[in-house]
């Protein structure tokens, strides 16, 4: 034991470790949690999203991604790109402004925080005097106009954030220029809108909240025009030629004002309440966009009839009599319209509407009739229904890949064919070396197939298991069930739908065989479906078999949920994965482990009561084994999971309602912000103190055999190994339980020609009780060369060396507390590594990974990647069980993050950092998927903007923010250079390989780009059920 604690002193090994292992969090996939601001740069064609936790994320063309984090973890309330530059300004809810810029370093762009600034008023001024409400970056790129709550507009010079006091437009100054009647009627309130004249940079428009709008001449420092609205002002927009302004108001109306004559009008040209005549909610933002075809687009947010549709989150698009109110399932944070970026162009010609809702990003094609949505290549809402499990499959054969994509493309017919309109920047990352699939199981009974090969996590195909079962919901209910003459013309858009018809449909375990296209999916109510990939739509009945895991145990009563009722008769299935057999466990407890062997055509499944083996070729149950301990009451009665989840979902929906009631206003009420903050932190602190008063204590008690849930089956594993004697190997099934028991069954699978005639037989061969009784989380058999046995069909497809059947096999049992190697077939303990007894940490996830050396092309090793309950990731060597490296990865408090972690077979992994985001990390020096991209600031198109010379006047550089793209380079420059070269080499290798394979016309290209055919590892853990 001591020798494990001692760090290795072998310098050669240490050097090798550096070549093999390296920890990086590379990219965040999915949709940012709690977005709070949206920005878009028409010149860069880059989108920015700010979050409530202070992160800024930039997205351009697929693969172009940047992330930055403000040091203060305050919500980002506004993001503005400086026109024509690679710079953006963020406003946080602590009233601080931050300047970020994209700088090119070593060929790739990086996002860096340059400057931080908080507006200070004159001494004695109330805090509202400097509370920023609107930010307008001037087209010169050198000035920032800041509208405040007091009604003053401050002018700040960039990038130094130097306040130009003499140019401040205070409300008093404006007042001087107003005629008598406006002066009497109005008190100046906060600035609601600031807009630059679209043609003349010397004019800006200032809108005050009480309804006064003025056009201010910056040169002459005077009011050119003023408009008086009768309602509270929400926002203002210019027409492209500057001849018309459109104001929107809190009563749901919008007005058009011409800016042509010097004669001041007191009435608007036209005023309308689009969803009147009953009281409507405010229109909070409006766009008025001209088109070449003549009729303009009016696009606005809100304005719905208060009484009947006041709770909807809508954005309406009007043009030429057509009107659609896009109805979002979550609150709309902000929206932007993508239109002609060229300022000199005569028309806006909008082509896309980008809407940032709280839970998803929706882009609508405005050029195609019907305004269909565009499928985003990134920012997918992973949590459109809550993720319940995930499964990663590396190195997918091209054929399966194409079939999955083909099946998925049929599902995406309703999307627009438009190319992704946000396409700024260039991705320099090499094309992914192999095709990887990430499968996520969801609460609503769907499995989503994601392309996880590169930086963009893209949805390929969605599989629903709901059709197999009878549910309350009508499956034919379409999203657009609204009638023709319905008013308002609502149209549901987006995919976020957190409401599940039935929690029992939830997917708990997924197992995909990438060679045969067989897929096994298991759910909350003990249902196990075996599916087959079919390129044609089909209608067939799903065969149903019941597996009674309690067998002859008497007197047990299941108090948990009922099983799902299967739909009788033939069911129509779309092309894709189609279920052909349903194994229903009895009692219908959550399926806790699942394994599929496509070569033997067997599927094994386990619950908290026992496990079973099913022959899906003959559609026959082979055996079931009850693992219950007679005193295990809890397992028998069921965990009351349904009650719990009902309660939970109720609570969640209440919380959701409450959240939506909180005003969606951009700003918080006027008041001393510092004081409020201090008060809240003080409250937090006292809360913490109160919590500390009651000390947390932990009971020290040895585990006994009578603990509940000992029968819970944690892991299942198929292996062809020496189970009975050392001369003959045979198929075997291994199962590990929560109580530290391992069962081994020897199987007799008839040869292929008699496969349908003879039954598969199973016989219990061994039972191992680990004395420490910790839950078994992984089982693995190593062959004579101590290499993990290959996956089924891998050898048959010539993608792996056949295992060494000469030497003696070894069995590795991973429990939560120890790693232990046994010899086979005798099962005598050979060596072990205690984890918990030494460090107090427990194994949560374990997987075998293949680590290639970053230096030597042909050198590789197999090791175990381990995630502990402390959120640490360790690499443990095989077969000697020596800890190699350890990195802290996830916060130990982040239970859901730890529970959601999956390892890939090449030393990468994913875990959820929020319900909607996967963080991708890499332990390998060789396999690193991270964004590498370049954003050009000098766009030849932007000739009219006189703003490019600004770059030289940069202030002292101060990279206080932490940018994601720089994060991986902390270890030094030369390290960075390594992988780059490596990628380049590999890339060429791959291309060569592919060319070669196409020349040969062989099937062999199947993504096996690696020059040396190697046995890829197994993922071990089936993990625990939540």
């Amino acid at each position: 034991m001591r020798r494990f604690l001692r760090p290795g002193h072998d310098p050669a090994r240490e050097r090798l470790k550096r070549d093999l292992f390296q920890f990086n969090k590379t990219v965040e996939h999915g949709f940012p949690h709690q977005p709070s601001a949206l920005g878009y740069s028409p010149s860069l064609r880059i989108l920015a999203i700010g979050t409530r936790s202070g992160a800024v994320k930039l997205y351009g063309a697929p693969g172009v991604e940047f992330m930055g984090l403000h040091q203060e973890n305050n919500a980002v309330t506004q993001i503005h790109f400086l026109p024509g530059q690679c710079q953006l300004v963020t406003l946080l809810d602590d009233n601080s402004l931050h300047l970020w810029s994209l700088k090119v370093k070593g060929g790739v762009s990086e996002l860096q925080e340059e400057e931080t600034y908080t507006l200070r008023g004159p001494p004695g001024a109330p805090p509202s005097a400097t509370q920023i409400t609107v930010v307008l970056p001037h087209s010169s790129g050198e000035l920032l106009y800041l509208g405040t709550e007091s009604g003053s507009v401050f002018v700040v010079q960039l990038p130094s954030f130097h306040v130009l006091d003499n140019r401040t437009i205070s409300s008093d100054t404006v007042l001087q220029w107003l005629p008598e009647e406006a002066r009497n009627r109005r008190v100046f309130e906060m600035v609601e809108a600031l807009q630059e004249h679209p043609r003349d940079p010397n004019q800006i428009l200032i809108g005050y909240s009480r309804g006064l709008v003025v056009i201010w001449d910056l040169q002459a420092s005077r009011v050119r025009y003023h408009f008086l609205c009768s309602q509270q002002l929400e926002n203002v927009t210019w027409q492209r030629d500057g001849r018309l302004i459109v104001t929107c108001h809190s009563d749901g109306s919008y007005c058009q004002w011409p800016v042509s004559s010097d004669a001041q009008q007191s009435e608007p040209l036209r005023s309308s309440v689009p969803y009147g005549p009953f009281p409507c909610k405010a229109i909070t933002k409006i766009f008025w966009l001209t088109t070449r075809q003549g009729l303009p687009f009016t696009i606005f947010q809100g304005g719905m009839p208060r009484a009947s549709y006041g709770d909807r989150h809508c954005i309406s698009v009007l043009r030429d009599g057509q009107q659609t109110a896009f109805d979002f399932t979550s609150r709309v944070i902000d929206f932007a319209v993508l239109s002609e970026a060229e300022p000199a162009a005569a028309f806006d010609d909008p082509y896309a509407l980008v809407v940032l809702a709280e839970e998803e990003l929706v882009v609508i094609d405005l050029q195609t009739a019907g305004w269909p949505p565009v499928q985003p290549p990134y920012l997918a809402s992973l949590h459109c229904s809550a993720i319940t499990c995930s499964h990663h499959v590396s190195n997918i054969p091209l054929k399966l890949w194409e079939r999955v994509i083909a099946a998925g493309s049929r599902q995406n017919a309703h999307f627009s064919t438009m190319d992704w309109p946000i396409d700024g920047g260039t991705s320099l990352a090499p094309p992914p070396p192999q095709r990887d699939l990430l499968l996520t199981g969801h609460e609503d009974g769907t499995v989503r197939f994601w392309d996880a090969s590169g930086v963009c996590l893209r949805l390929l195909y969605k599989l629903s298991t709901v059709r197999v079962f009878l549910t309350d919901a009508d499956p034919n209910e379409s999203l657009n069930a609204q009638g023709e003459d319905e008013w308002p013309p609502l149209r549901k858009v987006g995919s976020f739908d957190p409401y599940s018809d039935d929690p029992r449909l939830g997917i708990q375990k997924i197992f995909l065989c990438k060679y045969s296209g067989y897929l096994a999916v298991a759910g909350t109510a003990g249902q196990v479906l075996v599916l087959e990939l079919n390129d044609e739509a089909a209608e067939h009945a799903v065969e149903q078999v019941e597996a009674d895991l309690l067998q002859d145990q008497e007197g047990y009563r299941w108090k948990g949920h009922e099983r799902l009722a299967a739909r009788p008769g033939p069911v129509h299935f779309e092309p894709g994965f189609q279920p052909f057999v349903l194994v229903q466990c009895q009692p219908p407890a959550v399926v806790t482990s699942l394994a599929l062997h496509s070569e033997w055509r067997l599927v094994a499944f386990g619950t908290s009561h026992g496990f079973g083996l099913f022959d899906h070729q003959q559609r026959r149950q082979v055996f079931v084994k009850c693992t219950l301990h007679p005193s295990d009451q809890l397992a028998l009665e069921g965990p009351l999971s349904r009650v719990k989840s009902l309660k939970k979902s109720l609570r969640q929906s209440f919380r959701r309602m409450r959240r939506s009631r909180v005003s969606s206003r951009k700003r918080r009420p006027a008041g001393p912000p510092g004081e409020m903050q201090a008060a809240s932190t003080k409250a937090e602190r006292t809360g913490l103190q109160n919590m500390e008063l009651a000390p947390v204590q932990r009971k020290i008690e040895a585990r006994s055999a009578e603990d509940s849930f000992t029968g819970f089956v944690r892991t299942l594993y198929f292996a062809d190994t020496y189970l009975r004697d050392s001369s003959r190997h045979c198929p075997s099934l291994w199962a590990g339980t929560n109580g530290g028991t391992v069962y081994a069954f020897s199987l007799r699978v008839p040869p292929a020609e008699r496969r349908m005639d003879e039954p598969v037989r199973a016989e219990q061969a061994k039972e191992i009780q680990l004395m420490h009784r910790a839950p078994v989380v992984g089982i693995l058999v190593l062959d004579g060369r101590s290499v993990p046995l290959p996956e089924p069909l891998e050898v048959a497809h010539d993608l792996s060396k056949s295992p060494d059947m000469q030497g003696s096999h070894q069995l590795l049992v991973v429990s939560e507390e120890q790693f232990k190697v046994f010899t086979l077939p005798k099962v005598s303990a050979k060596l072990k590594l205690k984890l918990t007894a030494l460090e107090g940490s427990r194994v949560r996830r374990v997987g075998v990974a293949h680590f290639g050396s970053s230096r030597a092309e042909d050198y590789w090793e197999h090791h175990l990647a381990v995630l502990t309950n402390l959120g640490d990731i360790q690499v443990v060597s095989l077969p000697l069980l020596k800890p190699q490296v350890r990195y802290s990865c996830i916060r130990r408090e982040d239970v859901s993050g730890i529970a959601s972690c999956v390892f890939t077979k090449y030393g990468q992994g994913f875990y959820l950092i929020s319900p909607s985001e996967f963080e991708r990390f890499s332990l390998s020096t060789k396999w690193l998927v991270e964004p590498r991209c370049l954003v050009d600031s000098v766009k030849p198109k932007n000739h009219s903007r006189p703003s490019h010379g600004n770059g030289t006047g940069m202030g002292p550089e101060r990279a206080s923010g932490q940018a994601r793209n720089t994060g991986s380079q902390n270890d030094g420059e030369e390290k960075k250079a390594g992988p780059v070269m490596e990628h380049a080499l590999l890339n060429d290798e791959r291309v060569l390989k592919e060319i070669q394979s196409t020349l040969e016309g062989g099937r062999g290209s199947c993504g096996n780009w690696h020059p040396h055919r190697v046995a890829v590892g197994y993922r071990l853990s089936n993990g625990e059920a939540e």
Partner: protein, 354 residues
Amino acid sequence: FGAEFRRFSLDRHKPGKFEDFYQLVVHTHHISNTDVTIGYADVHGDLLPINNDDNFCKAVSSANPLLRVFIQKREEADHYSFGAGTLSRKKRVLVTLRDEGLRRRAHLDIGMPHDFRPVSSIIDVDILPETHRRVRLYRHGCEKPLGFYIRDGTSVRVTPQGLEKVPGIFISRMVPGGLAESTGLLAVNDEVLEVNGIEVAGKTLDQVTDMMIANSHNLIVTVKPANQRNNVVRSSRTSGSSGQSTDSTASHHSLQAAHVLQNFHLEEMESDEEADIVIEGALESQHVPKAQGLVRANGAGLAHSLQRDLGLHNSGRESNGSIHKLLSSLKPDPRHTLVLPQGGVEEHGPAVTL
């Protein structure tokens, strides 16, 4: 003695008196002229003594269906500790052997208690600071729960920068009737410093909890007792080589013995092979584990070697000095002797006792 096996029957419900049984045993084996100690193997594979009516009754009632009785010469058995795990751990043989050799030299003759097995002990008294205490709890084969709770707290340390508050782990509560309470060696507010040789500094409460539970069958906790008044007062150890030990209240080990044992405790953590039970085939859940056979073999071998050892001792007491030398030469690499297989032990035995 490991040489002879007899099988005889007893009435399960009326076991009778110990004296009668003793006579019966002595008579059956024709050893009425020797003083012997009788022990039996209980369900956990531990060797427990039979020396009065009560434990005789207990022994008979717990037998299923066979009661395995071990007979040893008394003077030998006195030095050989009964207790948990003694039968199932072959490595202990070595411990005992050395222990014995050294003890003879120190002329210290404290027998093991006769009718209970150890539940706890204080160990490593001589290498720890006086303010600390290392307690070993034997959970194995005991019905009592370990029965204590731990919590987070702060303790004051003396550092070069002066006094400093550092987070620590403390015992917060004892379960009445639990093992921890019944030992009297642990108390509420004692600070936990180490668990099985691993410092807890920098570890969270949950980590320490998991460490303790993972080691619960053989838990060694080093504590700084809240009440420092009950500490063992040790005499100065100027004459270390004499082996004179006065800490009789706490430990029956002599100085060198403690050193040897200290080494062994560390190694033992590694070597206490929790023999995972392997059931071959579908044995119809008949829980007569294979391990039992193994135990029997061990026990026999043990008694055998002990006996040989004893004989040699009787003949050559004057050679103790050289034995000691031999032993101390072995000390630096105890692992070497430990990894020897069973056969190796027997070969090694004569070498030690030459």
